[in-house]
Symmetry: C2
DNA sequence: CTCAAGCGGACAGGATGCTGTCAATAGCGG
DNA sequence: CCGCTATTGACAGCATCCTGTCCGCTTGAG
């Protein structure tokens, strides 16, 4: 046998992992180009989306948890968005330090414009894909992620 | 209708994209932890894999293309791997500047140990998943990536 | 053979994400 | 009420990947 053929490179798991890496990079690149005219980036856009999704009732730590990122990563982006006037900090009646991240009117408008830019691109991306197949893939990826995020089960 | 309900957050495309981002982060984190005892990281491990896959006949630019990354990103990692004695540069008879990246014996050994660490984890990750479903997901992701990488078709 | 175009690498700088550490706030058991 | 622990944000430093620019090597047209 060949010296390094213990795990074939074309094993389905490995193919999937490499495809995730490449698709992740392609999505970030596409998003960056898409919202660049609005002064956004993929990262800022995604944070804006999380703020909208939380309806202004999320702290930075909560946003980070929802996005699966470290708090400091999100904190930096939120600070930049606040400096750009797209989000603001509202006092949290339940926690003096953990202020709530809320959208400013300008942030709302920018996000809606980004959504308008994204809609046709997103539609084209999945054009012709069977909804059931898409749903199946999403659930598979979610299941794999959950396994990765709780590795303490066997240790 | 609600002010920002033009594109629902739970649209399948958006779910998929967010899941890709989260899974990508989880995979990198898992890989970092897995090969840390070997002095590797996810990025270095992936580059090593590409070098092995190319059987020592790839230049840095070629490796980057295969991985879907920019040349400079791969160049930096390769330089670090070379400094660590895991890879080396072999003269390229066809191109004086574009040296070939080859594995050193130590690099071979480290990569094989990483593969041994990964095998049970990778197997456990896809345990219970229908091979057909896995294959279907891989092909879906690959198709989406190809659409993203050739956006010039409509412009 | 000469030179323009293209490819590959070197260098600089920026964006995004992580970990580690510390201070302030909340919540809870004694 | 006091102090311990957990949570949250601030700050510093590092890893990874990107773009932009320049230079050397290769190739091909003339």
């Amino acid at each position: 046998m060949a010296p390094s053929a213990a795990i074939p490179f074309d094993a389905p798991v490995n193919e999937l992992v490499l495809e995730i890496f490449r698709l992740n990079g392609a999505l970030i690149k596409c998003g960056d180009a898409l919202v660049k005219p609005l002064g956004l980036s993929s990262a800022r856009w995604q944070v804006l989306g999380s703020v909208v999704h939380g309806q202004g009732s999320y702290s930075v730590a909560r946003l980070a948890d929802n996005m699966g990122l470290a708090r400091q990563s999100v904190q930096r982006v939120v600070d930049e968005l606040a400096a750009a006037g797209l989000v603001a900090f509202a006092p949290n009646p339940a926690h003096k330090r953990a202020k709530l991240v809320v959208m400013t009117p300008r942030g709302q408008e920018v996000f809606e414009r980004a959504s308008a830019l994204w809609q046709p691109v997103g539609d084209a991306l999945i054009a012709g894909v069977e909804p059931a197949e898409l749903r199946s893939a999403i659930e598979l990826l979610a299941a794999l992620r959950e396994r990765l995020e709780q590795p303490a089960a066997t240790e």
